[in-house]
C-alpha cells in the first residue's frame, strides 16, 4: 500500500550546491475555493530550515502569506506542511537536506480542509480529544504520595512526548482517503493518548468499549504510516495501537485474562515494576493478585 510518506521520501542529503545564490519555494496560495502554486525566490543564506525561508518570503514578498508557527524548535507541532509532498514540520526540515536546484514545493496538509495558504482546519482533532475520558487515579498511599517505578512511567512517557503536530492523522489512510470514517475513528494521535491512559500505572478507568466501538481501533490495518511520519519517533503502531487492539480483543474473548492483568501488586514502599503485565505481548495476568483495582470486569 503506497502512501504519501513512502512514495515521496526521496529527499536528498547531499545539501545545497556550493555557491548557488538563491533558493525557490513553490508555495500553495489559495483558500477553500481553490488556489495555485506560486514561486518565490530569495537569497540562499545557508544554515536555515524551511520555516526560516518562509518567514523571509513573508517579510520581503508576501506579507499576507498564511502560515501557522509558534516555537520554531520542533516542540509545539504548529508548522506542519507537506514539503515536496512529504508531511513534515517546516521548522525541523533543514534546507541542506533538500535539493535546491529545483523549486521546493510546500503545500498544506492534504487531509484537512483548507483555510488559507498553508493553514488548514484542524478542528477534527480537537473534537476527538473531547471524546476521551480523562485520567482517573486510584487513592494515594498512606503517606500521601503516588508511587510508580521509573520503568513503568517511561512506557507512558513515550506517548506523552507527542507534540500534537497531527502529521500522523494526516497520513493515516483510514481518514486521509475516507472522510466518511472520521466520525467513528480517533486516529493515531489519539490511540497513542488512549494507550498512555491504559498503560498508566495509576489509572482505574475502563475505556475498552469506547476504543473498539466509538473510536474504531479495529479500522487500523497496521501500515505504520503514522509511526514513520512521527517527528518525535513515537512507536505509535507497535507500542500503542497493537496493544490496544489486543486489549480490546482480550476483553471480548477472555475476561479472565483481562481481570488478571488489571490486578496489581501494591506498589509500596519500593514499587515493583508492572511493565511485564503491560507490555505489548503480555496478555495474560503475570502479576500476582493482592488487590483488585476499582474497576469491574465487563
Amino acid at each position: 500500500m503506497a502512501t504519501e510518506a513512502t512514495v515521496t521520501a526521496a529527499t536528498r542529503t547531499d545539501g545545497a550546491p556550493v555557491g548557488q545564490p538563491t533558493v525557490t519555494l513553490r508555495l500553495w496560495r489559495g483558500d477553500e475555493s481553490g488556489g495555485e502554486f506560486v514561486d518565490y525566490t530569495v537569497e540562499n543564506l545557508g544554515g536555515e530550515v524551511v520555516l526560516d525561508v518562509v518567514h523571509r518570503i513573508q517579510a520581503e514578498q508576501a506579507p499576507d502569506l498564511a502560515v501557522r508557527w509558534n516555537c520554531k524548535a520542533g516542540k509545539c507541532g504548529s508548522c506542519s506542511a507537506e514539503i515536496n509532498g512529504r508531511p513534515r514540520l517546516m521548522c525541523m526540515t533543514r534546507m541542506s537536506t533538500l535539493e535546491i536546484t529545483t523549486p521546493i514545493t510546500v503545500s498544506p496538509l492534504r487531509a484537512n480542509p483548507i483555510i488559507r495558504d498553508l493553514v488548514t482546519d484542524v478542528s477534527f482533532h480537537f473534537a476527538v480529544a473531547r471524546k476521551i475520558p480523562a485520567f482517573r487515579p486510584g487513592p494515594r498511599e498512606a503517606d500521601g504520595t503516588y508511587r510508580m517505578a521509573q520503568v513503568d512511567v517511561e512506557r507512558v512517557q513515550e506517548f506523552r512526548k507527542c507534540i500534537e503536530c497531527f502529521l500522523c492523522q494526516n497520513v493515516c489512510h483510514v481518514i486521509r482517503d475516507h472522510e466518511e470514517n472520521k466520525p467513528a475513528f480517533a486516529g493515531p494521535r489519539f490511540f497513542a493518548r488512549l494507550a498512555e491512559l491504559e498503560m498508566h500505572p495509576l489509572d482505574t478507568l475502563d475505556r475498552r468499549d469506547l476504543i473498539s466501538r466509538d473510536l474504531g481501533v479495529g479500522l487500523c490495518n497496521i501500515t505504520k504510516c503514522c509511526t514513520e511520519v512521527c517527528p518525535e519517533g513515537i512507536h505509535i503502531t507497535d507500542n500503542a495501537i497493537i496493544p490496544l487492539k489486543e486489549r480490546v480483543v482480550d476483553a471480548r474473548y477472555d475476561p479472565i485474562a483481562w481481570l488478571g492483568r488489571k490486578i496489581r501488586r501494591r506498589p509500596s514502599p519500593t514499587p515493583a515494576p508492572v511493565a511485564a503485565a503491560l507490555s505489548p505481548a503480555g496478555r495474560s495476568g503475570e502479576v500476582i493478585s493482592t488487590e483488585l483495582a476499582p474497576r469491574s470486569a465487563p
Binding site: 483558500d31 530550515v49 502560515v67 533543514r94 480537537f126 521509573q150 512517557q157 514502599p269
Partner: protein
C-alpha cells in the same frame, strides 16, 4: 453600531499557556461561566518550551528542603526586589500544585522508591525541580490542557484580543478581538478577566520566545489603566544558540551545566572561575578540582560556578566576548562533549540531543555548542496583589509571566512553571469570586467596541511601509540599545528611536484581506511590542543601578536605595510615565531567614 458576534461570561481568561489553563480550571470549579481565548491553537503555548522542571520544595531528594529555603533562594536570586508575599506563597504552595498535576495525569520522572524525582538547578540550594526528562513544560501544559478539556471548559482558539473594555467606573467588563481565521470581530462580555498572555521576547532580535511573545497582555493592561512594575528587569538566558541560523535563539537548558557542561572561551579556559561574586563566594567552588567533585558528592563539596544564577553567567559571557575571547559567531563555547560519555548525555538530555541533531546537525555529544545571551523572560510585569492576583484595575487579574513581582530582578530556573501553577490557580479563584460577587449583567459600551474595530482595520486603508520592516527596526533598536548591558546615552537614544518607531507603526500598511493575514496580525502585535519597549526603556533609564536582569555599565553595582523601590510605569494623560514607588516591607520573621548562617 455594527453587529458583532458576542459571548457573555463570568470569567474570561486571555492566554492558554500554563497560567491561563490553570486559572480556567480553578475558575470553572467555582461554577463561574469560564472561557479561554488564545492567539494560537490550544496546546501550542510557549509553556511547551520550558525544559528543566518545576521548582517545588517536595523534599523527595533532600529531606532538608522546605518552603523557607525555597523562599530564601527565590528572594536572593531576585536580588531582594521580589514581592516577598508572592515569593512566600509561591514557595509554600508549589508542592501542592505539583502533586495535583500528578493527580491529573502528569508523569514525572521517579526516585528509586517511586516518588517524584527532583534535579539540581542554578540558584536552588537543593535538588528541587520535578521534571520529565527535558520536556517538563510540555508535560505541564498537556496535563492542564487535558484537565481543562475534561471539565468541558470552552476554548476560543486563534483569536487575537485587541483591547479590553471598561465601564464608567474604570472596571474592566469585556474585550474585543478578532478571529484570525476569518478576520471577523468578536466581543466578550465578562465580569472578570484574567490576563495570562505570557512574555515580550519578540521585541528583541535574539529571543527564545515563540511568535506569540509580543507583550499583548502587558499592553492590554497598560491601556486599561493598570500599573506595571520593574519592566526593565528582563532576563537574557546566558546560553542561547548563536549558530547556525536554524537554531538561533534556541535555549540550551541549564541542565547541561547541572550535568557537567562547562563554559570555555576561545582559549579553551573555564572562565567562570574568574567571575564568582562575593555574594555567592561561600557556596561556590573556587577550584576546578573542587567543582568537578561536586557532581558526585554534593555534601562535602561546593557547586561549580557554571551553576551560579543565570544573570551572573550571562554577565560573565558578555565580558569574555567584549574582551575578544568569544567564539567565531559572537558567543562562547558550552562543552559537555569532552566531559561526559555520549551515552550519558543522550540519557540525561534526550530531547536536547535530538533537537540539535535534527534542527542544526550539531551533535552535542561530539562537539561544543556556540552559545550567547538571548532574551528569554521578563521579570517585570503587571502589578498584582500577591494573594489574589488582582491588578490595580477593578475586575482585572494577572498571572504567569505577564505579572510582575514574583521574581524580583531575576528569576531562578524552574520558578516560572511553579509560578504559573500557583498564581494561575489564585487568579482563577479570585477572578471567579469577583465575578460571582458582581451583581447585574455586564453592559458593553458599543461606542468603545466600534472604536476598537475601526482602529484595528485602519492598516488596510493606509499606504505606508510593511509592518515587518518596522518590527525588524524595533528588534534591532532594543537588541543594541536596551539589551543585556545598558548605559544612559544608549537608553535615551532608544527612547527617542521609539518615538519615531511609533510614528512608523502608525503609518504601516497591510496588504490583502482579513482572512488569516499574518501581516495584519503583526501590525497589531506591533502596538503591544512598542508599548512594552517603552516601559522597559523608561524603567531602565530611571533604575540607575545594576540588579539582576538589569545591568547598567554606568552604574555597575547595586544601589541600596533602588533596592527598596519598584519602578512603576503607567499611562497618564495618554503618555507612559515612570516613577519609583516603595516595595512592600518584609515582616521581621521572614527577614531573619536571611540572617541565619548557611
Amino acid at each position: 453600531m455594527a453587529e458583532y458576534e458576542t459571548h457573555t461570561l463570568d470569567v474570561l481568561i486571555i492566554g492558554a499557556g500554563g497560567a491561563g489553563l490553570r486559572a480556567a480550571v480553578e475558575a470553572s470549579a467555582t461554577g463561574a461561566r469560564t472561557a479561554l481565548v488564545c492567539k494560537s491553537l490550544l496546546g501550542k503555548a510557549h509553556t511547551v518550551m520550558a525544559e528543566g522542571g518545576v521548582a517545588a520544595a517536595l523534599g523527595n531528594v533532600w529531606p532538608e528542603d522546605n518552603w523557607k529555603v525555597h523562599f530564601r533562594d527565590t528572594m536572593r536570586g531576585g536580588k531582594m526586589l521580589n514581592n516577598w508575599r508572592m515569593a512566600q506563597i509561591h514557595a509554600q504552595e508549589a508542592p501542592d500544585r505539583v502533586l495535583e498535576l500528578e493527580e491529573w495525569g502528569a508523569v514525572f520522572d521517579r526516585t528509586p522508591d517511586g516518588r517524584i524525582l527532583q534535579r539540581d538547578f542554578g540558584g536552588h540550594r537543593y535538588a528541587r525541580l520535578a521534571h520529565v526528562g527535558d520536556r517538563t513544560g510540555l508535560e505541564l501544559l498537556r496535563t492542564c490542557q487535558q484537565r481543562a478539556v475534561s471539565l468541558g471548559i470552552e476554548v476560543f482558539m486563534e483569536c487575537k484580543i485587541v483591547r479590553l473594555l471598561t465601564d464608567s467606573s474604570g472596571a474592566v467588563n469585556g474585550a474585543v478581538g478578532f478571529w484570525r481565521e476569518s478576520g471577523k470581530f468578536v466581543v466578550f462580555g465578562a465580569k472578570a478577566i484574567v490576563l495570562a498572555a505570557g512574555g515580550v521576547g519578540k521585541t528583541w532580535k535574539f529571543t527564545s520566545n515563540s511568535w506569540e511573545g509580543t507583550g499583548d497582555g502587558h499592553a492590554l493592561a497598560l491601556w486599561a489603566g493598570a500599573d506595571m512594575i520593574d519592566m526593565e528587569c528582563v532576563q537574557f538566558h546566558p546560553t542561547g544558540m548563536v549558530w547556525p541560523p536554524s537554531a538561533r535563539g534556541l535555549l540550551v537548558t541549564e541542565g547541561v551545566r547541572g550535568d557537567g557542561g562547562v563554559l570555555r572561551n576561545s582559549d579553551g579556559e573555564r572562565f567562570m572561575f574568574n567571575y564568582i561574586p562575593e555574594f555567592y563566594a561561600k557556596e561556590t567552588a573556587d577550584t576546578i578540582e573542587e567543582g568537578d567533585q561536586w557532581y558526585e558528592n554534593k555534601t562535602d563539596f561546593r557547586r561549580p560556578p557554571e551553576l551560579l544564577p543565570r544573570d551572573e553567567v550571562a554577565r560573565a559571557i558578555n565580558s569574555e566576548v567584549k574582551a575578544g575571547r568569544g567564539s567565531p559567531h559572537g558567543g562562547v563555547f558550552l562543552d559537555i562533549a569532552s566531559r561526559r560519555s555520549p551515552e550519558y548525555i543522550k540519557r540525561r538530555l534526550p530531547s536536547m540531543y535530538h533537537q540539535f541533531k535534527e534542527l542544526a546537525d550539531v551533535d552535542i555529544t561530539a562537539e561544543p555548542m556556540e552559545i550567547g545571551p538571548t532574551c528569554h523572560y521578563i521579570m517585570g510585569g503587571i502589578r498584582v496583589e500577591a494573594d489574589t492576583a488582582a491588578t490595580t484595575v477593578a475586575g482585572l487579574f494577572a498571572a504567569g509571566e505577564v505579572a510582575g513581582g514574583m521574581h524580583g530582578a531575576n528569576r531562578l530556573g524552574g520558578n516560572s512553571l511553579s509560578d504559573l501553577l500557583v498564581f494561575g490557580r489564585r487568579a482563577g479563584k479570585y477572578a471567579a469570586e469577583h465575578a460571582l460577587g458582581r451583581s447585574g449583567d455586564v453592559e458593553i459600551d458599543d461606542a468603545q467596541v466600534d472604536a476598537v474595530a475601526q482602529h484595528a482595520l485602519a492598516p488596510f486603508a493606509r499606504d505606508g511601509e510593511n509592518p515587518y520592516s518596522v518590527h525588524h527596526a524595533l528588534q534591532e533598536t532594543m537588541q543594541s540599545l536596551v539589551g543585556i548591558i545598558r548605559t544612559e546615552s544608549e537608553l535615551v537614544e532608544a527612547r527617542d528611536a521609539l518615538d519615531k518607531l511609533d510614528e512608523r507603526a502608525a503609518k504601516a500598511a497591510v496588504e490583502g484581506h482579513r482572512q488569516f493575514n499574518p501581516g495584519w496580525h503583526l501590525a497589531l502585535d506591533l502596538e503591544s511590542m512598542l508599548a512594552v519597549a517603552r516601559c522597559t526603556t523608561l524603567g531602565a533609564i530611571e533604575r540607575k543601578e545594576s540588579r539582576g536582569g538589569h545591568t547598567r555599565d554606568d552604574y555597575p553595582g547595586p544601589d541600596p536605595a533602588f533596592g527598596k523601590v519598584n519602578m512603576v510605569t503607567r499611562v497618564r494623560d495618554g503618555e507612559v510615565v515612570v516613577a519609583p514607588e516603595p516595595l512592600l516591607e518584609m515582616p521581621d520573621e521572614l527577614k531573619t531567614l536571611f540572617e541565619e548562617a548557611h
